[in-house]
């Protein structure tokens, strides 16, 4: 069964450093997403990406965040200058249809620890 993959599984970085989280969505999916989950809290929407551009973003997704689909398979989230409060689990997801219309397939997540 096709699945979303994410690398690395765990990233430790120092405050102020840049990190890039990588995802390979399911190959025939059209919509791509990043979510985050701070320990013990709910899954929060960050951004969606469709047709090579951001289709929607939340208030959390400020200027320090960016997304890119550099080739036909990868989807990346860059955090330019990490803060302690960026420590969280970051999930990539993909879907055939947008938003709530259809199921979203989530990856296993990247645990980001900012020290």
């Amino acid at each position: 069964e096709p699945e979303v993959t994410q690398t690395p599984s765990h990233q430790v970085t120092q405050m102020g450093q840049e990190v890039i989280l990588r995802c390979v969505p399911i190959s025939n999916h059209l919509y791509f997403y990043w979510y985050r989950q701070i320990l013990g809290q709910k899954v929060e929407f960050l951004v969606s990406f469709y047709n090579n551009e951001i289709s929607e973003k939340s208030e959390i997704f400020d200027d320090q965040f960016s997304v890119e689909r550099p080739d036909g398979s990868n989807f990346t989230l860059k955090i330019r200058s990490t803060k302690l409060e960026d420590s969280a689990m970051y999930f990539c997801a993909s879907s055939l249809t947008p938003g709530g219309e259809g199921e979203q397939y989530f990856g296993p997540g990247t645990r980001l620890t900012v020290t």
Binding site: Q41, F45, E56, G99, G100, E101, F106, P108
Partner: protein, 112 residues
Amino acid sequence: SQKIEQNSEALNIQEGKTATLTCNYTNYSPAYLQWYRQDPGRGPVFLLLIRENEKEKRKERLKVTFDTTLKQSLFHITASQPADSATYLCALDPNSGYALNFGKGTSLLVTP
């Protein structure tokens, strides 16, 4: 402001019983409502989707109801098994087109 509320307390039930989880929402008019399962340290896994014009949806031992008047969805697992122990998340479409907004989830523990 928009809110999605799920039972904050863990639900403990005996194997074989039916588990019922609640999702209440305010300031949403969702066209769709979804339920996901999340195991510790893992990504959410899709379970069921129900549309605003559907009252009930079933899949194997799972049943979801959607009452847009009460602004509530109920999620039932019949003949529960220890393997059903996990956190169950309710997710709503805020009509923005792309996002899914999640509740905090309810932890279910099924004991033998």
